[in-house]
């Protein structure tokens, strides 16, 4: 029988939510690693029982946890993230050079084919890889050293590499995004990278159309069309039809085009979801109404999805890694809020219900569709 497993990272631990294919009754396990910040938990597409979790705290630094049984038990694995060579400097908030310093792992992206291989996106921005189940980590320095690194600077949340997308049709091609450097693409398995930010416009940087320096919040793709990318930028929802070589804005009739998360329907490559947030200084929904917006034509034309979501006095945020979809029919959409709710829709967004209401602030949501 099919089912889903929702992996939730929060400010105070990780949780695993499970349901059968109806997605009506949920079992909740956790908190795992209670009291620690869990930036991300993700399962291997090649082995659904293999999970990786990024556990960190200001006191004790970074820990990586691995599960071989779908999150029932966990083992700490390697946590040495050392930049290759002389790390050099990037720009600090005030524009002065600042040494590259490892702070935490924001995102873990398991290989599509090998459960032992997993990528890590870290702050300060770099990409690491483990080929032994998280025991040992090596930086893939071609990204940080590709040339523009000294001009990168942090966003308000830190200079984090928060998005890693592996092209399902070509595993040597990856897309990553960094706040606030922008999006990058490799075609050769992370040896060389190029910025893919043409068409982005960011008014808060000296050259609004610069090749790097854009605060990309999240990018997403549909596995059947890896040349089509969708982006939630700091402001603006963007689309590329040429694997990031050029971007065009598709914010259309959104009430605000600021936001963090973006995702694509599992079966409809032109159906995308965002959660508009009022502004970069007011991180809550406009008018106190929590609305997911859906476009069924790849952008520009958006409809609010509100049934089951609070439509008054709601001032939560939905962070960049806190939305995911399952691949059941019909497609399930999930997102978590900084107010501790995890909402689920089992009908592509038409209606919503909270799975839980009172978690710690949600940092990330991932979904595994189980058969």
């Amino acid at each position: 029988m099919s089912g889903v497993r929702v992996l939730v990272g929060t400010r105070k631990g990780a949780f695993v939510l499970t349901a059968d294919g109806k997605r009506e009754k949920w079992d909740v396990s956790g908190p795992h690693f209670g009291g620690w910040e869990i930036y991300h938990v993700k399962g291997s597409p090649a082995d659904p029982n293999r999970l990786y979790a990024s556990q960190s705290s200001s006191w004790f630094g970074q820990v990586i946890q691995r599960s071989n049984d779908g999150g029932e038990t966990w083992q700490p694995v390697g946590n040495t993230f050392t930049y290759a060579g002389v790390a050099g400097t990037h720009q600090w908030y005030d524009g002065t050079p600042h040494p590259w310093e490892f702070k935490r792992v924001w995102h873990l992206e398991p290989s599509l084919t090998d459960p032992e291989t997993v990528y890590a996106g870290v702050e300060d921005a770099a990409i690491f890889r483990s080929r032994d189940g998280g025991t040992n980590w090596e930086e893939l320095p071609g990204l940080r050293e590709h040339g523009s690194g000294p001009r990168w600077q942090p966003g308000a949340g830190g200079m984090c590499l928060h998005t890693i997308l592996i092209d399902p049709s070509d595993h040597e091609r990856l897309f990553i995004a960094i706040s606030a450097a922008g999006a990058f693409r490799t075609e050769d398995g992370c040896q060389t990278w190029q910025p893919i930010n043409q068409g982005l416009r960011s008014e808060h940087i000296p050259d609004p159309t610069a090749d790097v320096g854009h605060c990309v919040h999240r990018i997403a793709l549909h596995r059947s069309r890896p040349d089509v990318l969708f982006m939630q930028k700091h402001w603006d929802v963007m689309r590329s039809d040429d694997a990031g070589d050029s971007w065009r804005e598709v914010s259309g009739n959104l009430p605000t085009d600021f936001g963090f998360c973006i995702d694509v329907h599992a079966h409809e490559p032109e159906t995308i979801y965002v959660v508009p947030i009022k502004s970069d200084s007011e991180h809550y929904p406009p008018d106190g109404r929590l609305r997911v917006y859906r476009s069924r034509c790849g952008g520009n034309e958006w409809e609010p999805l509100t049934h089951g979501l609070p439509q008054r006095d709601c001032y939560v945020n939905v962070l960049r890694d806190a939305m995911a979809v399952d691949s059941l029919d019909s497609c399930g959409i999930y997102f978590g809020t900084t107010g501790g709710q995890v909402y689920a829709s089992s009908d592509s967004g038409e209606s919503w219900a909270p799975i839980v209401r009172d978690f710690p602030a949600v940092l990330s949501v991932e979904v595994q569709t189980l058969s």
Partner: protein
């Protein structure tokens, strides 16, 4: 030489330990030798007390023993005799901060 070490609750849980751990320390009993012995026995603690590479004490942690703050002592400085004999524990304490 048996040395007693008390860890903060989060690290006890990470290493699946009780309130106190006893360690066999070879040679001089110093911050470094105690922490080396601790990390050798519980590798999951590597990087959580001292930073990888520099081996510096993480800034939100302090080292206490015998009513003294030893946080700023050199890592090679011998710990008090009462710690070396196991009479008093070596305390690794997390800062009281945050929410």
């Amino acid at each position: 030489m048996k040395v007693r070490v008390v860890l903060p609750p989060h690290l006890r849980k990470l290493a699946q330990l009780g309130a106190e751990v006893e360690l066999e320390v070879d040679g001089a009993v110093t911050q470094r030798s105690v922490l080396d012995a601790l990390e050798a026995r519980y590798p999951m603690l590597r990087g959580t007390i001292r930073e990888h590479g520099t081996q510096k004490r993480r800034p939100f942690l302090r080292f206490f023993a015998c009513n003294q703050d030893l946080s700023h002592e050199a890592p090679e400085t011998p710990l008090p005799a009462a710690v070396a004999t196991g009479e008093e524990p070596f305390l690794i304490v997390g800062a009281i901060a945050g929410g």
